[in-house]
Symmetry: C2
Subunit: 240 residues, 2 copies
């Protein structure tokens, strides 16, 4: 007998808005942000979906309830749903993805790559974002490789690395060399993570400029270099 489905812990569902970062930058999407994470990155910009102190704010919803909300927000018009977190791979999003795909929706998911799931193969885009030294976390590469393997059936697998400083950058180059076949996006880190404080657009520009200068000076032409558009547009405000 199949065990009863455990409810999902959902920090927020919002949109439609545009995907602010990574390979799908600029693409209309609805976000499903999962609550809970196995990491505690020093500069985490989504602590409300990570820290247990926020646990009471996470909704317990089964997949059908989440799906109903996504369909409501998108007016029943298929688009790409972005599952983020926290680390969404902690939970079982397979049933949600199956429901959405049956109605023509696509799913992208971002995870640090610490937990592999067989339903990664049902994604249109799997974004693996191993955390650099400045995070204070250390990737488990065997787990990461298992995520890669699980994502083989996905439409695309993208390696996305956040870079805060020179040490992160050197690390990103080494990791990229380790996975030569993956699409690669580098994103400057955002040290301003207080949702109640504004972020100057010029700061977003300056951080990208720093990264562009660094990568071009080395003549490293593999990575795409992209900012966080949502921070440019809305700072760290939630729900947009």
């Amino acid at each position: 007998m199949k065990p009863p489905e455990r409810p999902l812990r959902i920090a927020e569902i919002f949109g439609p808005t545009i995907q602010g970062e990574g390979a799908l930058i600029g693409q209309p999407t609805v976000f499903v942000r999962a609550g809970g994470c196995d990491y505690r990155c020093s500069w985490c910009d989504s602590m409300h979906a990570v820290d247990s102190a926020y646990r009471d704010s996470w909704a317990a919803m089964d997949a059908a309830q989440v799906w109903a909300r996504v369909r409501e927000l998108s007016g029943g018009r298929p688009l790409t749903v972005s599952i983020s977190g926290g680390n969404p791979a902690i939970q079982d999003f397979g049933p949600l993805i199956a429901m959405g795909r049956a109605e023509g929706y696509a799913f992208a998911l971002e995870t640090q790559g610490s937990i592999a799931r067989d339903w990664f193969a049902q994604l249109s885009v799997l974004v693996l974002s191993p955390k650099p030294p400045s995070s204070g976390e250390r990737p488990d590469w065997a787990a990461f490789d298992a995520c890669l393997a699980a994502g083989q059936g996905a439409g695309a697998v993208v390696l996305k690395i956040v870079v805060f400083d020179d040490a992160d950058y050197a690390w990103a180059r080494a990791v990229a060399d380790r996975y030569p076949g993956l699409d690669l996006v580098l994103q400057p880190g955002n040290p301003e993570v207080d949702p109640d404080l504004p972020v100057a657009a010029q700061d977003v520009a300056d951080r990208l400029l720093w990264l562009v200068d660094k990568v071009m000076a080395e003549g490293w032409f593999r990575p795409r270099l992209l900012p966080q558009l949502h921070v440019l547009l809305w700072g760290n405000k939630r729900g947009v």
Copy 2:
């Protein structure tokens, strides 16, 4: 007997830098900007490659000379070369593209779609950017369709439309509906085109926000909505 090759008129060759807009946003590239255009868009941000008054500043170079410069700038490391203008389709970039492809480089080209070329099929990305009403120009759709046909062998064909106002937006939706199979990027217009004046990063953000709000309010999930990153980073400064 094959006629002698006519030299190319080149307004500027610069890079490596990142592609600031469109489908390849964030990707390292060297730009080859062709001199000369069959359009005179009211808000043109590249008049130095369009207006005959700048003609004396355009270099007459044969394809081998252009290629030597691109190779020098990129240190011989293959990347995507972006051919822009003006309208680069006025001239014959076929020989340049052949030289570069032989060394592992890829080529993207942006044109308004007024002149079709058989070498469009050699591009990795053909960006067709028909000009909206605010430009003061009116597309010749038969010519545009010929460009589409010529680009069938290209890696990808992308429809990119600049939107300055509500009339442009309505026009963009109609044009997009006419070409349902193409990838679509909408880009807010940039009315600040003086290369000697700074552009506030917040202005770039505000214009994108306007477009995001408009598209999301309609529940139109097809287009990607992207800013001009180079304007965010460098204003309208040339050569970056």
